[in-house]
């Protein structure tokens, strides 16, 4: 199986991995390749792209609204895509507001929720709310039927599996017995014997106004409970659907590899489909070459006789010796890192059907041509 075949067979591709491994770039590169090569309408849904990446795709800025990457941008990169490439960014606050508007039973409840200080805090700053809303948006976009393929770049979570569990947790949260227990005193005038001491302490610590804000918020949210839970379950089903696949992105540093392994395991346990592992920024394998190592060691340790043997017109004798030493030492330095990477790679390699290696590009990716260069290196 190759990446082009994998993406041709799926409708949703979720890229995941720890922060700083090039997840967003990989997602954009895969989407671009799919649009160019497989055709159809392809959307890349991203969470927090570098502004330059937005520019790279020829967009003024990403927004919650989907924007098409222009034919001119592709022409500039020297390709003519078979399909269309679209891009959108996740606006957490906006998406939450949309959700409330959709599920609120009436206008009054809707306005009360939108104005509740706790709601504004939860949606704006509550880290887990990003996870949930990303999955929610994905569901929405998929259900719209506008796209043949959606590539989602997941939010940088502290815990990579957080977003997988977000729909389930959100449903659990609103159906929690603890929550009902907590709200009980605000619903009836009788406080149970069990909860009374809690409220006395909580009152002293947090103040009753805050407790009331919380209670109001959750009571309002309860009115949307059915819609919410139903939706969360639907999102969960979508992630398990055979048209959905996950791509784990990692560099070959110890910490991201560790997280990638953890993630692969988590996918397996949840019976989610692991389509590919993409290893990013991998140093070239020639750094491990034995004969080259011998030469590098010689240059590093004893450059003088080699400098002597070279034609005089290469440069000033002392400078030549220093350059030879530096060249040798640099090779050996990078070899240390390359060796470490190859160990990490062998640990990770056996885990997925498709394993792709992205070479270390010595310049940044700042335009569509760069994305295509990256994409082409792993596509087939």
């Amino acid at each position: 199986m190759r990446l082009d075949e994998l993406l041709a067979a799926k409708e949703i591709v979720v890229t995941c991995g720890s922060g700083g491994v090039g997840k967003t770039t990989t997602a954009a590169a895969l989407a671009a390749m799919a649009a160019i090569d497989n055709g159809g309408k392809v959307l890349v849904l991203t969470v927090d792209p570098a502004r330059r990446l937005a520019n790279a795709m020829g967009l003024e800025a990403f927004g919650n609204v989907e924007t098409r990457v222009t034919a001119a941008a592709f022409a500039e990169a020297g390709v003519e895509p078979r399909g269309e490439l679209w891009a959108a960014m996740l606006d957490t606050k906006q998406s939450w507001d949309d959700l409330v508007r959709r599920h609120a039973p009436d206008e009054r409840t809707r306005d009360l929720i939108l104005a509740n200080p706790l709601y504004q805090n939860v949606t704006g700053k509550f880290v887990q709310s990003h996870d949930y809303i990303a999955m929610e948006r994905l569901y929405e976009l998929h259900a719209s039927g506008k796209y043949d393929l959606i590539v989602v770049d997941t939010p940088p979570t502290r815990n990579a599996i957080d977003f997988l569990e977000a729909p389930e947790r959100m449903a659990d949260f609103f159906s929690s017995r603890l929550l009902r227990w907590l709200l009980a005193p605000y619903r009836s005038r009788f406080m149970s014997m069990a909860s009374k001491p809690f409220y006395q302490v909580a009152d002293r610590i947090l103040g009753s106004q805050f407790l009331q804000d919380i209670a109001e918020f959750f009571m309002l949210f309860q009115t949307m409970y059915d819609g919410f839970v139903e939706r969360a379950r639907a999102v969960e089903r979508l992630l398990h659907d055979r048209r959905t696949t996950f791509v784990v992105v990692t560099t070959l540093d110890a910490a991201p590899v560790h997280e990638a392994q953890f993630f692969v395991q988590a996918l397996r346990e949840r019976k989610l489909h692991l389509g590919a592992v993409v290893m990013n920024k991998v140093l070239p394998t020639y750094l491990l070459d034995r004969d080259a190592t011998k030469v590098a060691t010689k240059l590093c340790d004893d450059p003088a006789p080699i400098a002597d043997a070279l034609p005089a017109d290469v440069g000033e004798r002392k400078a030549v010796e220093r350059v030879l030493h530096e060249v040798g030492e640099s090779f050996l330095n990078f070899q240390v890192v390359a060796k470490r990477e190859s160990e990490q790679r062998s640990e990770l390699g056996a885990t997925a059907e498709v394993v792709a290696t992205v070479p270390y590009f010595d310049t940044d990716i700042y335009d569509l041509a760069g994305l295509i260069r990256l994409g082409s290196s792993i596509w087939r």
């Binding site: 720890s18 922060g19 700083g20 491994v21 330059r52 200080p117 706790l118 805090n121 939860v122 700053k125 509550f126 940088p156 502290r158 815990n159 929550l179 907590l182 069990a194 001491p197 809690f198 302490v201 002293r204 610590i205 947090l206 103040g207 106004q209 805050f210 804000d213 919380i214 959750f218 110890a254 991201p256 070239p284 020639y286 750094l287 070459d289 080259a292 011998k294 030469v295 590098a296 010689k298 240059l299 080699i306 043997a309 070279l310 034609p311 017109d313 000033e316 400078a319 220093r322 350059v323 530096e326 060249v327 640099s330 090779f331 990078f334 240390v336 470490r340 010595d362 310049t363 940044d364």
Partner: protein, 316 residues
């Protein structure tokens, strides 16, 4: 002029994922301890790997001493809550009641800022009680640090009365005092880490009262060639000369030369990002440089090397 970073009492070390945030936090702690400061290093992220950098068993909520003057702990918000209840509110008995703790855990998940305040509160408490000369925090990555540092303010806005509100007062004072508290932003000289660092500085200014103490640029590649040497290298790469070199060295040289070319280009790209970072910050902002160490992995040896590099930058 901002106060020297190790003279402060509370340092939050943050940075984009993958830039070496934990390495720098561990090394700063080690350096401070070496300088004779009673130091506490605390990791906030439960699945952090701070322990690897000191080659110690994973620490718990109760600090353990790993070297003279160097104490290490791992944040646990539930333990922090229990300690808070028993210490601050003199409620030792209640703190032990299981359901109460569980309920608070639930509340902490529901109400934003509660987990954060328990984390920052505990750290501030250690500073206020003068248990340590310096507390170094291996803080959340750039995306989450603002939320954490804003927690006392957020709680203040949400909670109008009660003991928690009273407690946020002194905490805000400690955080807002540049003589006591500072953020250390770690970046590698690459596209996204530099961009995120610059954005973070702006956000910290706009949304918090916490001072940025210093930038640390990690993985700075050494300049391979000095003046005039780059021309020699270019000459060596010419096919004819490369052939002569292969004969003289007695083996293939393409890979070796190509690796050096990669190193040169990489350094040039990184130098560009470094320049962008420098241009983007206030000229008085201290910037510390840590060289790329080409290490096999993380461990005490590397932590010591990074501490050496930071020490040299700080003039120790």
């Amino acid at each position: 002029m901002s106060p020297p970073i190790l003279d402060r009492r509370l340092l939050f070390v943050t940075g984009k994922g993958g830039v070496g945030k934990t390495t720098v936090a561990a090394a700063l702690g080690l350096l401070a301890a070496r300088e004779g400061k009673r130091t506490l290093v605390c990791e906030v992220d439960a699945k952090g790997n701070l322990a690897d950098f000191y080659e110690m068993a994973p620490p718990g909520f109760d600090p353990v001493q790993v070297q003279p003057n160097l104490h290490v702990m791992s944040m646990d918000t539930e333990a922090s809550l229990k300690e808070y209840l028993s210490l601050q509110l003199k409620l030792p008995l209640l703190a032990k009641i299981g359901p109460l703790a569980r309920t608070f855990d639930f509340l902490a998940n529901a109400a934003p800022g509660v987990k954060e305040i328990l984390t920052v509160g505990k750290l501030g408490w250690e500073v206020r009680e003068k248990h340590y000369d310096l507390v170094v925090v291996d803080a959340p990555a750039t995306g989450h640090i603002v939320g954490q540092l804003r927690a006392p303010q957020a709680i203040n806005e949400l909670v109008q009365v009660g003991l928690v509100r009273d407690q946020t007062g002194w905490l805000k004072d400690i955080l807002a005092d540049p003589a006591q508290t500072g953020v250390v932003i770690v970046a590698s000289p690459e596209e996204m880490p530099v961009t995120e660092s610059l954005e973070l500085i702006d956000r910290l200014h706009e949304e918090t009262d916490v001072d940025v103490a210093s930038l640390v640029v990690n993985r700075v590649l050494p300049e391979l060639f000095g003046r005039g040497e780059e021309e020699v290298f270019e000459r060596l790469r010419e096919p004819e000369m490369a052939g002569a070199l292969a004969t003289a060295a007695g083996g293939p040289v393409e890979s070796v030369l190509e690796a050096a070319r990669l190193a040169v280009t990489l350094r040039r790209t990184r130098a560009g990002h470094l320049a962008r970072l420098r241009a983007g910050v206030d000229p008085t902002m201290p910037i510390l440089y840590v060289p790329e160490l080409f290490a096999r992995g993380h461990g005490l040896r590397v932590t010591n090397q990074v501490a050496d590099a930071l020490g040299a930058e700080l003039g120790f």
